[in-house]
Amino acid sequence: MRNLAAILFTGGLGFLLLVIASQLDFGHPPMVVGQEILDVAGDQVGAANIVTSVLLAYRGIDTLGELSILFAAATAAGLVLGHRHGDAPSDPEGGFILRAGADLLFPLLLVVGFYIILHGHLTPGGGFQGGVILAAAFFVGVLGRPAKGLNHDVISVIEGLAGAAFIGIGLWALFLEGEFLKPMLDKGTLGDLISAGTLPLLSLALGLKVGSELAGLMTSLSDTEAREP
C-alpha cells in the first residue's frame, strides 16, 4: 500500500517534470540578467573569471550565507557528536605507505589549494575549490595518524577569524563606500594576479573558512568512537 503510494507519487513527479520540460526552451535561455552581467562585469569588477565576479561581488551575500550554512552544519555536528571520551580507542595508525604518502602529499596539496584560491579571479576555481583541497591536505594527515588528530582550538580560531575577515571586508566597504561588500581597491589590469580589487582577499577568506570548516567537520566525525563490527 505504502509502496503503491510512493510509486504513484514519484511517477507523478516524473511525469510532471517531463511535461514541464516539453514546455521549456532549453538551450536558448532568455539571458536577461546573465547577458547584462557578461557585458559589464569586466569593467565593474575587473575579474577575468565572471563566475567568481558573480560569486563574490554581485551575489556576495549569497556566498556569505553559504559560508554560514557550512558553519552552522559544522557547529551542529560538533554539538551532536560531542567530545570524544578520553579512554575511547582511536582508529589504528595508518600503515607506512599511508603515513609516507600523507607526509608527501601535505605540502603539495597545501600549495595547490592556495594556488587555486589565489587565482580564483583569473581561472576556474576559487575559494570553495581551494578550500576543499586545503581541508583534504589536513585530513590526509589525520588519516595517516588518527591518534594525533587535529588541533580543534587552532581550527576554530582560523574559522572564526576567516569568517570575520569576510564580513570585515564587507563592513569596511559599508563604512567607506556606503554599501556592504562593494568592491574596492584598484581594479588593476584584467588578468593580473593582483587585480580585481578586494576579490582575491575575499577569495582567501572564503577558502580559509571553507577549508577549516570542512577539516573540522571531518575530524570531529572521524574522532567519534567507531562501532566496530
Binding site: 517534470l17 532549453f26 539571458m31 557578461l38 552544519a73 571553507v210
Partner: protein, 157 residues
C-alpha cells in the same frame, strides 16, 4: 545516423536523477540510503540549473579564454549551483553525524524501526508507566517494552 540532441539527453539525465532520488527517498527504509538518494536528487537539480543557463554556441564565462567577442554561457546559474553544491555537502555531513549518533543509540538504520523506537521512548518519557499493549499501535506495530526485532527482509526499491 541517429539525431542526438545534446540538451535533450542532458535534460533526461537531470530528470532521471531527480526521479531516482525521489524514489529512493520515498521507498527506501534504510536511512543511510535515503541520504544517498538525497545526494542523487541534488545532483539532478544542479544539472537542471546549469542547463537553464546553457546555450549551444557559447563558451565558458571567463574573459580572455575564448576567441575575442565570443558569446558566453549565463554565469548566474553556475554560481547558484556552486552555492547549492556546498550547501548540499554541509547538510549531508550533518545528516551523517546525527545518523552515527542514532545508530550508536539504537543499533539500527531502518526508518520503521526507528519510528517505533521513537514512539515507544516518547510515550515512556511522557508518562511514568509504559503504554498498555491494548493501545492501538501506530503503524500496525505492537508497542511492547522490548524494542521490536529487526524486520526480516530489508525492504528495498
Amino acid at each position: 545516423m541517429i539525431d542526438l540532441n545534446f540538451v535533450t539527453v542532458l535534460y533526461v539525465g537531470a530528470i532521471g536523477l531527480l526521479v531516482i532520488g525521489a524514489v529512493g527517498l520515498v521507498m527506501c527504509n534504510n536511512v543511510f540510503r535515503m541520504v544517498l538518494a538525497l545526494v542523487l536528487a541534488e545532483a539532478g537539480v544542479n544539472l537542471l540549473l546549469i542547463l537553464a543557463g546553457y546555450r549551444g554556441d557559447a563558451a565558458a564565462p571567463i574573459l580572455g579564454f575564448g576567441p575575442e567577442g565570443a558569446q558566453m554561457v549565463d554565469p548566474v546559474p553556475q554560481v547558484l549551483v556552486l552555492t547549492a553544491i556546498v550547501i548540499g555537502v554541509g547538510v549531508q555531513a550533518l545528516a551523517v553525524a546525527v545518523l552515527v549518533r542514532v545508530f550508536h543509540a539504537y543499533g539500527t538504520l531502518d526508518m520503521r524501526e526507528l519510528k517505533a523506537h521513537f514512539e515507544f521512548e516518547l510515550a515512556a518519557e511522557k508518562t511514568t508507566e509504559p503504554p498498555r499493549s491494548t493501545e492501538e499501535p501506530a503503524g500496525g506495530r505492537p508497542l511492547s517494552p522490548v524494542p521490536p526485532r529487526p524486520h526480516p527482509g530489508e525492504a528495498r526499491s
